[in-house]
Subunit: 482 residues, 2 copies
Amino acid sequence: MFQEFVETKSLAKVLTMALYSKEDTLAMRKKLIGSSCRLFFSEEPVKIVKAQGQYLYDEKGRRYLDCISNVHHVGHCHPAVAQAAAAQMQLQNTNTRFLHDNLVQYAARLSETLPEKLQVFYFVNSGSEANDLALRLARQYSQHEDVLVLDHAYHGHLTSLIDISPYKFRKLGGQKEWVHVAPLPDTYRGLYRKEHEDAARAYADEVKCVIDEAHKKGRKIAAFFAESLPSVGGQIVLPPGYFQKVAEYVRAAGAVFVADEVQVGFGRVGRHFWGFQLQGEDFVPDIVTMGKPIGNGHPLSCVATTQEIADAFTANGVEYFNTFGGNPVSCAIGLAVLDVMEKEDLRGNATRVGEYFMKLMNDLKRKHPIIGDVRGVGLFVGIDLVKDRNLRTPAKEEADFILKRLKEEYIFMSSDGPGENVLKFKPPMCFSMDDAKLVADKIDQILSGSERKFPCLRIWRQAQTLQAGYFDYSIILNQVSC
Amino acid sequence: MFQEFVETKSLAKVLTMALYSKEDTLAMRKKLIGSSCRLFFSEEPVKIVKAQGQYLYDEKGRRYLDCISNVHHVGHCHPAVAQAAAAQMQLQNTNTRFLHDNLVQYAARLSETLPEKLQVFYFVNSGSEANDLALRLARQYSQHEDVLVLDHAYHGHLTSLIDISPYKFRKLGGQKEWVHVAPLPDTYRGLYRKEHEDAARAYADEVKCVIDEAHKKGRKIAAFFAESLPSVGGQIVLPPGYFQKVAEYVRAAGAVFVADEVQVGFGRVGRHFWGFQLQGEDFVPDIVTMGKPIGNGHPLSCVATTQEIADAFTANGVEYFNTFGGNPVSCAIGLAVLDVMEKEDLRGNATRVGEYFMKLMNDLKRKHPIIGDVRGVGLFVGIDLVKDRNLRTPAKEEADFILKRLKEEYIFMSSDGPGENVLKFKPPMCFSMDDAKLVADKIDQILSGSERKFPCLRIWRQAQTLQAGYFDYSIILNQVSC
């Protein structure tokens, strides 16, 4: 029925769906919505009126391939999810102070995806609410206050989370005395790189140093927060074994290990359900937070933790009540998302398409020197663009240009990383092989064509061709204004 | 169609909706859900499988009249709301980085309900997220840190909001140095009572004193937060003119006035759309936060503020992005709720039914000395139960007993207030005259019958009958063990 609905919708019909002209929508937005809420492609924003699977449609019926929407995990407007929501919305939607099957059924289903130790759940409405609750749980359990995070991390938009997000607090009020920052284990441009004999241990030892420094100041750590795959940090894949070693140091300090899976969990990496599982089966966090994809766009998020931590939180004698968290509609949607993931083998698809896309990108890396690094797992991929491969100077302007050009080719992609130079690939999980090929082809075309715009790229290629072995690109680069 | 769906649903069908037996649901809940998440009637919790309008149905098909669910504002599972959600969920649900008509249309509709000064909106997922954002806005604008709140207030479950909620922080870690507490303007049992010549000014002057004390310590206030009708504080109706005077002091201190309308706004008071409007047309807050009822159970909340405050927030140069906040489905639901409110004249209904219920409760007050005070506006009513009218000792055990008995009569009600003795009446806005009469009759019967259980009540009545004028009930009370 839904399929029919989408396919029979003519362009004319799509057009009539728009209540205002694009200009009027934009004018109303400028007047009525806080301008801190930014638009993609702010110079020429896009109005989306329809979406399906991995496609978005604007008010003129133009179809865009979506490499951005990790939230719309099983595909935009999946009929099974919409139908589950509609059915439960007609039936009832009380809060968790009443018993309901959906809540416990959903918790049971989630528990099957997690290690045995993580079997207690709290349902909330956003990844930010989940991380804030994780912080409260950690503090209550440890009876400590401080938080240790990785550099460039982002854990949410709330007061408490801005404080533990270097990505935000460096631009705002600065670092609070209870926040400690360890280096981002970026083996491409960080302190210890791929050639290091044991980057996992070296980066973990940096965490130990930060803990020791904090202890010297009389501070006590409540929690170590890290995304299992640092995303805002530039689509980083952590060296295996890092979390195990960090957890050892963190627990020795009386703190808990929080794996933030809000952006990266829920099967995106393909071969595992959770990002932290890439570190090996011997690693189990104390708290896992999840959000964005789990409700396919519906405000649904969750905290999973151990019985011990949950018991300590209960022992404070104060109720935790979240008005909307865990309501029957949210849980029905959560269950439908899990069903679709299984039925359509979306983890298998993420593995297959992700590997293919990585291969295509690595092919492009050999051809285009601007691609300094291609990294990722499943449908979580980063393409690190550099002005020169030796210095690894972030190619921000080039990244912006490519995104703009991709948009003209009806492909939405975004960038991230401290240098804003890493193309972020995190599409809906139904992304196909053909989609991957299309994106690779378009990037190839743009990079080839853009050599006119960014002459350094051409000179690089020439230099590469001339030199078989090591070549100091920066010598040539310094002579050219990019 | 929906009407048919509800009416034709047989008891058997309702029963089959339950996946697990109630015992199994409870057992799974105990195992899987953090026990800080409490159940109503914890000794004998209720499993709800269906809801419509002001009624909830358990797994055995028993119908309960709902005086609790202020969230399900236009009635549980209103078909117009469910249909609006279903339609938009099939169409698209991108985030606010893309342009969409629903967002600006909803903001425009909300702006019509607010004073002209409050025309900039931020959409979020919960009342807690709204209050946290209000705090961030206030701090950015004022460049101060501290917060002034009313005693017994509750503003949300997040770290930052627990800190500004005396209702919570008094049971947890205590009061932070940046938090200042002013007395709750409760004219029934507070510092200044109904007989005071100008309670509004007296309570406002208390706020001034707290500000002066803070200044003496070198602290600077960023915001004054208050519910327009303190609810957790015991369903308090503030003396008119209080907010005007407080705002004067607060603004003179360089702080902003935040009206927390999460529980009490959106037409619940009937004759006004917002609770703060009860204070008079000359009062306009700097920030208004809204939540619970605006999505009829869907996770949708909002912050409204002035251009000046929004501009100051933008000026920090940092994006505010809320993944789910203001998505097209949430806004479609918000629009549908506004439509239903208008179409069904629910504000008019709140006024009429609320006045009738207040009259019935005041009749009961004359009959039952346990009712010390009846206060409220529209469908926001508190029935303050006292062990004796002179001392106004909170009758907590009696309140608990009445709630338990009401449940046996298939009526859900809750209690609140510092003494946990105030019956809270905050039903869906479609509550009828007959419903009001039923609740009043049942309370009357319970109070009459409970004189056996609580003998002091009977002795009081006898004392009342004997004494025409002033009578020191406490003399008799002290002789009786309640």
